[in-house]
Amino acid sequence: MSAKRKIKTMDGNEAVAYVAYRVNEVIAIYPITPSSNMGEWADEWAAQGVPNIWGTVPQVMEMQSEGGAAGAVHGALQTGSLSTTFTASQGLLLMIPNMNKIAGELTPAAFHVSARTLATHALSIFGDHSDVMSCRTTGWAMLSSNSVQEAMDMALIAHASTLESRIPFLHFFDGFRTSHEVNKIEMLSEDDMRALINMDRVFEHRQRALSPDHPVLRGTAQNPDVFFQMRERANPYYDECPAKVRTIMEKFGALVGRSYHLFDYVGAPDADRVIVVMGSGAEVAHETVEHLNARGEKVGLVKIRLYRPFAVKDFAEAIPATVRKISVLDRTKEAGAVGEPLYVDVVNALHEALNHGYGKLRTLPVVVGGRYGLSSKEFTPAMVKAVYDNLEAAPPKEHFTVGIQDDVGHTSLSYSPEFSTEPENAVRAMFYGLGADGTVGANKNSIKIIGENTDNYAQGYFLYDSKKSGAMTVSHLRFGPQPIRSSYLVSKANFVACHQWIFLERYDMLSALVEGGTFLLNSPFGPNEVWDHLPRIVQEQLIAKNAKFYVIDAYEVARNTGMGSRMNTILQVCFFAISKVLPKEQAIESIRKSIRDTYGRKGEDIVQKNLKAVDETLAHLFEVKVPEKLTSTVEMPPPFSPSAPDFEKNVLGVMYAGCGDQLPVSAFPADGTFPTGTAKWEKRNLALEIPAWDEKICIQCGKCAMVCPHAVIRLKVYDSKQLANRPATFKSTDARDKEWQGLKYTIQVAPEDCTGCGICVEVCPAKNKTEPRLKAINMVPQPPLRVPERENWEFFLKIPELDRRDIKLTNIRQQQIEQPLFEFSGACAGCGETPYLKLMSQLFGDRAVIANATGCSSIYGGNLPTTPWAKNAEGRGPAWSNSLFEDNAEFGLGFRLSIDKQTEFARELVKRLAATIGEALAIALITSPQKDEADIYEQRQRVDLLKEKLKNLNSLDARQLLAVADLLVKKSVWIVGGDGWAYDIGYGGLDHVLASGRNVNVLVLDTEVYSNTGGQASKSTPRAAVAKFAAGGKPAPKKDLGLMAMTYGNIYVASVAMGAKDEHTLKAFLEAEAYDGPSLIIAYSHCIAHGINMTTGMSDQKTAVESGKWLLYRYNPERAAMGENPLILDSRAPTRKVKDFLNMETRFKMLLKSKPEDAKRLWEQAQQDADARYRLYEFLAQCKSKAAKA
């Protein structure tokens, strides 16, 4: 590495954004995993005033969708700016129309894509090339990076090349594997960028700009007479493009010292077998080739850099004359094609090369293609070796897969997981941590310390859970004297650390530990007691592997030093103290320096508590002598209860245990369909404390159950006979409601599903009169209650549910008796969204179909292995699906149209068959009003009777009616999503669906940011809030979605906040569903992205309403039909100032700390917004009623 350039550790996204930001002027952004960070970097740098290489700060603009971003970039390019954007997956697909235009107009631009899987049978946020491969026909050049360093280098090469060639460039690198891998790289300097960007080309681009000073016409419409010719007119630009890229790469090599070619060959000059691949897999193959050749094999590798335009001659010349067999690896699947795209291209290129005499080959080698690494599936040296081995088979398997066990199509290559190319002189470490406990942050910091302070190379890759609460993280770190190409997980670790004791009982983390390796355990038990508490499998492996074993009570050190639940500094010190990656003193001093650098801006106290933690840690770290004998009787429990159904146990349970990679193809459904009601099998035992019910204090109001985000607090009313054989500690009391006289009442907590958020205690209104610090529900330690409450919970579940016909739904006290059909989600502890979904599931779940926009609710609702959507005892419950992000309203409207059509057809068939099934039944089926639970119950009885009758009939009509008979019972269509969907990307569709007049219920879980992708601003974000993409505080006010919907006049609109007025929320849900037309409920949802204490989230909601920051209202068109004002403003005039609310939330307060003057101005404007909005609503609610009276 050159001495003049800075060495830094960073991930691929930052590396790319660093260059893209500096060589552009207009940057349009939109969040999508895993590319969001590039936009976030750009936005933050712009907010900080960081200039580009020409000394001006780029304009960074968040758009409403990726389609919008591409459009804005197109416009910026057309008017002469240098412009870029960042995206992935579905986002890239939304850019395709503009990409065709940009290429057709020969416009220099580069987009940076962290390549991600396209949603098919399921969404996946992880990496493969299915998105970029969908852009092959856009006319864009495609340039691939294989590592973090290359991502930075190729970002610059892409921008330089597009200016030279006028062909737009799609620069891509593997989502997560490269975008999120932290690696040590050499930073390109701004001088490097200036040297490579040809200013003459920039000026030519400016000259082509649309300008009234030299007007031209572009974007014409053309007819058959000329379109074709013009399409061919651009060919010379494509023909010349590869040579121009080659020249740029040569110039880059001369300048920077890293040499790239259109196709880079690695391996034996006389190789007989070659792999062709692009992306991070090429790095794995590179490492494997070197390993195999060092052991006498003759293999090689062609890394594709410039995939489009595909330079046939360059490709052919990259292949040695000795090659007889080629395996082409595609990180995508093109079902039904001759083969995957790269494979097809290689076969064609070889044919053409031979025809033209390009390259050294004189006969066509055997070429096979295979798929690997879909959705970030691991791709390891063992798999690369299997691919080479396959080429030696006679004949080699074609269209193979590698990395999975395909026992259906038998496509998969077998491989030996034991095969390893890891060098002996590298340190490999794995850390198991709990999300937000600081493990990942500490490891990133360790990489920085080693990477930036020593000559060693460093790499970090981090695996996260799909749960948002209690999530496990696994950090994979490598350190060594050679550059690290190992873009795969550590499987043989010298050092394994378990930062949370609970994981010991759940995961076999020592299987990766090498012989003589080191195990560090964060343990509440000291060095003398810990051994007997270890699970048997842990003891076994520590003995068998002759491991070194250390313990620290990081919990205690954290407590003593004021670190709370954050153990980053403590466990980082342990790692350096034990691993000896660096001399201990040097390492500790580096940690101290890093603490000052990292936390200095957060305040001296934060610095001091971390420094104190460093000292305390060393005094609490102990080596444990591993005994020779096993003593443990602790066995690892099965992931799911033995009573779970087979599929749940054998498939979902295996996934839950973290062993999904081991499941064969045959284990899965072919179309992505899964059972519901499966979250109940996960017993995550996350809570250190759970609520305990005090039946003597309880007033049975039902509020605790209503707000419980995880449906772990349940109410039942039942006959005392049910109490026979109750467990000893099962609590019961007399029901207080007059209508339930003589019945018993129980509030039961699901002890192993509770996340311990404490919201229930916060909202409980009943206080103990002799000790008012206690309420009717209080948090108590979970461990002593786990066993008895588990028994109580199981007993409670067996008590029959109260007949829904006997529940008064308008009263929370009674309504909350309804069984939730949304339970134990993986949402954040204390989530503000899930109580609304649970309420909906209680009220309408047994006849609901849900279209769920992509976002938090689709992740905690439908991210495997399990789903919180559940079924009742009759097997009924919400049917749920997620289509995409942008199309959810339309998707849900499709449900409605389909259900309405089938219902209509069923009714027609009932009429047609009336004589056969009985006139009375037919009339009753058709005329049932189905207005309440009793009606629904009776209609279901009729449908059951109808189906019985139909089973004995053979006519086509009868068979058709049997197929659609269930549609005779009213179905409730719910369209659910967040504000990112409703206000931004899906707004056009939502508007259309609302305007359709059809009976759909839209529930907007309004967190006022894109929560799922990490808190980016949406048009719902209120003025003055700091969010990603609004780093300087959002200057514009929140869009009034409800008011816009009201203008149609025929849409039921409600704005609710459960924490402010729960009865109002309930009323709105009931009215919305009852309204025979479109309904829109905008539900204020507190969120972890607000920077709040999640336990008091409902109080935040209350203050939001009391200050006028959030309004409660209902707009019911049925009232207008009766001559009344349809709008009822349910909020009273504000009794508090908006600043009272803003002061409660970090999203607002942090601006006071970073930009106090801006904050002051924006806070004042926020008050004005609230005042004006209240006055407007007050006017609308009053003035119309006067008109109605008149």
Binding site: T33, P34, S36, E40, D43, E44, A47, I125, F176, G435, A436, G438, T439, V440, G441, F462, Y464, D465, S466, K467, K468, S469, A471, T473, G562, G564, R566, Y599, R601, K602, G603, E604, D605, I606, K767, K769, P772, I859, S1011, N1012, T1013, G1014, G1015, V1026, A1027, K1028, A1031, I1088, A1089, G1091, I1092, M1094, T1146, R1147, K1149, M1150, L1152, K1153, S1154, P1156
Partner: protein, 339 residues
């Protein structure tokens, strides 16, 4: 011409009427209005030492919550390049206040532990404050804390601050010491440039409906001035430090009584919150009028005239006066009953 001028912590003030720490000094406009109304100096609103620390901790916790847990959202906030988590906002306020008015600006630092006092005090001095008022509000509730330990805490803070700055340091304390006079003497010995008597003892209230303890900040009443009046009267002439009276200063007569007891200045807050900033002017006019009517020429002339040292009956400040007061009260009660 009546001379209202006085000296306080070495500062020459036009009048003995000073605006004490209150929300009135939150905005620069408010500070200007206080000057316009005749305040001879302004004690800025307090910088709460614990609050700064709590804010640091809270921000750190909130920004870290939920991070590095979930692949799509490894964080939830942009990284603010530079947070002003220390007293930067307050320091900036001092600088702007100094530019806005010509009267002395006294900064106020409120806390109960040594904590960040010295660093904050140094920064306050650098920001240009003319003096620093240390409001030490420590409520001893731990039965294991001896009076000696409690007193030592005050002394430690004053010593630390005095050694950190060269501007005058006033110390605002509560009256609740076993021997207030001894405490005053020890603070004086450590170099406190003034004693500000006294800070308000904020006593919580109970919300009967919610069964909650609630903070209940009541504005002072004129009756509250008896406590500072007593101790200023006792301490006058015995200390090197200036004496400032605060609590219960509402009208011209209150000011005059306190000056006569020995106060160098009197501080107003509740009266201004209740009556508006313009009340300062009417108090000043009232003082002038009274002095004219009673033929006093200067404030200096009356300062300490009714202190224990100079008053006609020094025992009136001691137990004998208490005995007389109790007897007098008994007489009122009994005669009332008889009536």
């Amino acid at each position: 011409m009546i001379d209202l001028s006085t000296k306080y912590v070495g500062l020459r003030l036009r009048t003995p009427l000073v605006a004490s720490a209150s929300p009135l000094s939150h905005e620069i406009d408010g500070i200007r209005r206080l000057e316009d109304a005749g305040a001879s100096a302004i004690v800025l609103y307090s910088l709460f030492e614990e609050q700064l620390r709590l804010e640091q901790m809270e921000l750190d916790d909130r920004l870290a919550a939920g991070t590095d847990s979930f692949a799509e959202a490894v964080s939830f906030f942009p990284q603010a390049n530079e947070f002003q988590l220390g007293p930067e906002g307050y320091l900036d306020h001092i600088r702007r206040a100094k530019r806005a008015v010509s009267i002395p600006i006294i900064a106020s630092l409120n806390g109960a532990t040594v904590g960040g006092w010295t660093e904050y005090a140094r920064q306050i001095e650098q920001a240009g404050a003319d003096a620093l008022e240390c409001n030490i509000y420590f409520l001893a509730t731990d039965p294991d804390d001896s009076s000696n330990e409690v007193e030592q805490r005050y002394l430690d803070i004053v010593l630390a601050v005095k050694s950190a700055v060269t501007i005058p340091v006033a110390v605002k304390i509560s009256p609740f010491f076993s021997n207030m006079a001894n405490m005053a003497k020890r603070l004086d010995a450590l170099g406190a440039d003034a004693l500000v008597l006294f800070n308000r003892f904020y006593q919580p209230d109970i919300n009967l409906e919610e069964l909650e303890i609630v903070p209940n900040v009541l504005l002072s009443t004129p009756q509250d001035l008896r406590l500072p009046l007593t101790w200023i009267g006792v301490l006058y002439g015995r200390l090197r430090a200036s004496l400032a009276a605060t609590s219960g200063v509402h009208g011209a007569e209150d000011v005059i009584k306190l000056l006569m007891a020995g106060a160098d200045i009197t501080m107003l807050c509740s009266a201004l919150l209740r009556n508006g900033v313009g009340h300062l002017r009417s108090v000043e006019n009232g003082v002038i009028k009274w002095m004219e009517e009673h033929e006093y020429e200067s404030v200096r002339q009356m300062q300490g005239s009714m202190s224990q040292l100079h008053c006609p009956d020094p025992s009136a400040f001691e137990r004998a006066q208490y005995m007389r007061a109790v007897k007098g009260a008994q007489h009122v009660v009994f005669s009332g009953r008889e009536a």
